[in-house]
C-alpha cells in the first residue's frame, strides 16, 4: 500500500461521513415531495447538526459516566466502519476490512446505544432499548449470513474489498439467485437496523412508539448531535454496502482517473436510487405492530439462509 492510496482511503472515509447528512436530507426531501409538501432543504440536517453542536448538553442525575462516553463510542465505531466500507474505490483498509468485524462493530454501536437509552433512567429510554434488543437479536444473524453468502459465492474469504472486486469482475454473470436473495435480505435488515418505517418511524416523537428516538430521548446538545450524526453515517454505510457489495458494478477497482470518475457517477446514481426506494417505502406503508417485527426479521433471516443454501444446491 503506497502513501497515496492511504490518503485516498482516508479521503473516501471522510467523504462517506461528510455526505451522510445530505443522504438523510435527500430522503426527507423526496418524502416531503411525495406528501405534496415543499419540504426542508436537503442541507437541513447539516444545519440541525450545527445547531445541536452549539447547544449545551444536559445530563440526567441518574446517569453515570457511560452516558457521556457512549456518543463517542458510537462515533468511533462508525468512523471505523466508514474506513472499512468500499465506497468509490473498492480497496479499503484491507486486509482489516473483515466481514465479521464489520457485523460486530455494528453490534457494538447498537449495544452502546441501548446502554445509553437505559442510562437516563427514563421509562421511554427503557422501552426503546428493550425493543431495539428484540430487533437486534434477529437482525444480527440475517446480516451475518447475507454477507457471508457473498463470501461463499466469490470464494474471496471475509475480505470486503475482495468480495466487492470479485463480483464486480464477473460482471453480469455474477447475477444469480443467491445474490438476489441475499440482497433482498440485506435490504430488510438495512431498513430494520436503521429503524426506518415500517419498523420504526424516524420522524416521530410519539413517545410510546419510539424505538430509536426513545433511546436518544435523554441526549441533548452535543451528545445528541453526535448520536444523530452517527445514525446518519450508519444509514449511509448500509446504503453504500448495498451499492458496492451486492451490486458493485461500476465501482473502481484500479486507481485511474477514468475508473474513479465512472465509479463516482455510479455510486451517486445508486445512492439516489436507494434513497428514492427508502422514501417510497416509507410513504406507502404504515409502521407495523411491534409484535409483527420478529416475523418480518425472521423472513429476512430465512431469505439469507435460502441464499446460502441455493449456492450449494443450484
Amino acid at each position: 500500500m503506497n502513501p497515496f492510496e492511504i490518503v485516498l482511503m482516508a479521503l473516501q472515509a471522510a467523504a462517506l461521513m461528510a455526505v451522510s447528512p445530505l443522504v438523510v436530507g435527500i430522503i426527507r426531501k423526496i418524502k416531503a415531495r411525495m406528501q405534496n409538501k415543499v419540504g426542508a432543504s436537503v442541507l437541513q440536517p447539516y444545519r440541525d447538526l450545527r445547531k445541536m453542536f452549539r447547544k449545551e448538553s444536559a445530563v440526567s442525575e441518574n446517569a453515570s459516566f457511560l452516558f457521556r462516553l457512549i456518543p463517542y463510542v458510537c462515533l468511533t465505531s462508525m468512523l471505523l466502519l466508514a474506513a472499512m466500507t468500499p465506497f468509490v474505490y473498492t480497496q479499503v483498509i484491507a486486509p482489516y476490512a473483515d466481514v465479521i468485524a464489520m457485523v460486530y462493530i455494528f453490534t457494538m454501536f447498537r449495544f452502546a446505544m441501548v446502554l445509553g437509552g437505559l442510562e437516563g433512567g427514563s421509562a421511554f429510554g427503557g422501552m426503546g432499548s428493550s425493543r431495539e434488543v428484540m430487533m437486534s437479536v434477529l437482525i444480527e444473524p440475517a446480516l451475518l449470513i447475507s454477507i457471508m453468502t457473498l463470501s461463499a459465492m466469490t470464494g474471496a474469504g471475509f475480505d470486503l474489498s475482495a468480495i466487492s472486486g470479485s463480483i464486480n469482475a464477473r460482471g453480469a454473470a455474477a447475477i444469480c439467485p443467491a445474490l438476489l436473495l441475499a440482497g433482498t435480505s440485506f435490504v430488510i435488515t438495512m431498513v430494520a437496523e436503521n429503524t426506518r418505517v415500517p419498523f420504526d418511524n424516524p420522524d416521530t416523537h410519539l413517545e410510546l412508539t419510539m424505538v430509536h428516538e426513545g433511546m436518544l430521548l435523554e441526549y441533548s446538545g452535543r451528545g445528541l448531535a453526535i448520536m444523530e450524526f452517527a445514525s446518519m453515517v450508519r444509514l449511509t454505510i448500509f446504503m453504500a454496502l448495498l451499492g458496492t457489495l451486492f451490486f458493485p458494478w461500476g465501482t473502481a477497482m484500479a486507481m485511474t482517473a477514468a475508473e474513479l470518475s465512472v465509479s463516482l457517477l455510479a455510486i451517486t446514481v445508486k445512492m439516489l436510487a436507494i434513497a428514492f426506494g427508502i422514501a417510497l417505502l416509507e410513504s406507502t406503508v404504515a409502521k407495523m405492530r411491534v409484535f409483527r417485527m420478529p416475523n418480518m426479521l425472521t423472513a429476512s433471516f430465512a431469505l439469507a439462509l435460502m441464499a446460502m443454501v441455493s449456492l450449494y444446491v443450484l
Partner: protein
Amino acid sequence: MRLGDPIACDPALLAQYVKAYCDEGWRVVSMFASESSPGSTVNVLLRRGGEVARVASETVGSYPAVSALVPAASVFERAMWEMSGVVPEGHGYLVPAIYWRKGDGHPLQKAPYSIDGEERVPLPNNPIRGAGLFEIPVGPVHAGVIEPGHFRFSVAGEPILEMRVHLGYAHKGIEKMMEGPVSRNRAHLAERISGDNAVAHSLACAHIVEGDAPVPRRARQIRVILSEIERIHNHLDVLAGLCTDCAFSVAAAYGSEVRERLLRANREIFGNRLLMGNVVPGGVRNDLSREDVSKLEAAVMHAGFGAKKLEGYIRRTPSVVDRLETTGVLRTEDALRYGTVGVVARASGVASDVRAELPYEEYGALSFNPVSLKKGDVMSRAAVRADEIVESVSLILQCTSEMEEGEIRRGYETPDGLSCGIVESPRGELVHCADVRDGEVWRYSIRDPSFVNWPAMEVAVLDNIVPDFPLINKSFGLSYSGNDV
C-alpha cells in the same frame, strides 16, 4: 330546554332511584351539585331517547354513592366530591377528576374560596403490583404538540395490564365564571371550553339562555350548517391523525390538507377558522349571502370527497388496516356500562345520537341515517367518522337547498329554574345545565362528551400493547380542555 319539577328523593335512596331508572333503559347523562342551604342538591339528569328526567336529592355532607349501583355515575361523583364537597360514601375509586388540589373549602361552593394554601393532590400509583410489572408515567408534558394529560400504564413487557388517565391540567374554572346575571353574554366563554367544538358548546349554552322560544328558521338552518361543518373538520382531524400515528405519511398529509382547505373556507365565509363567534343567543351573528352559500357548498363537497378518498387510502393499504383492526376494542357492554356517547358509543354498537333522538334546531325536519357499527375497534371508530362526514355533507346540502330569506336573530328571555342544553357535538352528546335563580345563574354545569368517554378508554386499552395506545387515544379523539373545564 326548561326542565320541569324533579323527582325528589331522600339522599339515602338516590342510588336506588337512579338504578331503577337505568334498569328501565335510562342513561345518566349528567350529575352536578347545586348549593342550597344547608347542604347541596345533587341533580341527576337521565335520558331515554327523547325523554329527559331529573332526580334531585337534598344532601348534607355525604350520601351513599350512586356509582356503587350505577358505574356510569363514578366520574361525576368524583368531580362533585372534589368541586362541591359532596361526599359519596362507598365510592370505589375516589380520586380527583378535574382540579387535583386540596384547599380550604371547595371551588364551586358559594363561600369565598382562596387558591392560597392549596396543595396538589399527589397522583396515585396504579394498584396493580408484581414481579416484572412496570409502571410507565407519561405526560402531562408530551413530546408532541398535544393537550396536557397524564397517563399511567402498568405493563408486563409491552401488553397493558392497567391504565389510568389523570387529567385536570387544562382547568380554567369556566363553570364558576359562568355564574352571575343571566343578561351577561356567555357564548364567547362557552366557545372556549373546547375550541375545536366551539359551535356545539355555544349552541348548548344558547339553548339554556334562550329558554324554549324557537329562533327564526333561517337561524336554525345556519346553526345546523355550522354544527355539521364543525363535525366534518373534527372527524377529518382524527382520520388524518390516525394516519400520522401509524406513520402513513402520504394519507396523513392529504387528510390535513383537506381539513385545512375547509378551515380556510370557514374563515372566508364565517370569519373564523373554528367558527367561533357565530352562534349567539337568539340566533346567529352572520347571515349567509347567495355567494357565501355557493362557496360553502363547494367547500363542503370538497371536504366530503376528500374524506371518502382518505378512507379509501386507509382501507386499501393492508399495513394500515392491520394496525387499525382489532386494536383497542371497546365492547358493547362496556360502552353501556360507562355511559359512553358519540362516535365511541356508535362504533361499539350503541346507536345513540341526540340529533335523531332529541332533535334540536332543524334536525327534526332533515333526513339522515345515524351511523352505527358493532366491532368497537379503532377501525370501526374511523369508519363511523368517515360515514358521518358523508351524512354531514348531506345535511348541509339539505339546509342550503331549503333556505329562505328571513331574520336570523330574535329577542329572548331566560326563564328562572333549571334548564339544560343537550346537543350532539362532534365528540357526542354534550350537556350544559344551569340553575337560574331570580335572574342570576346560580350554578352552571358543563358535561363535555369527553368527560364520560375518558373512563371508557381505560378499559379499551387493556390487553393492547403500549405502542398501540396513541392510535387508540386518537381514535377516541377526546378533548382534554373540555374535560377539565
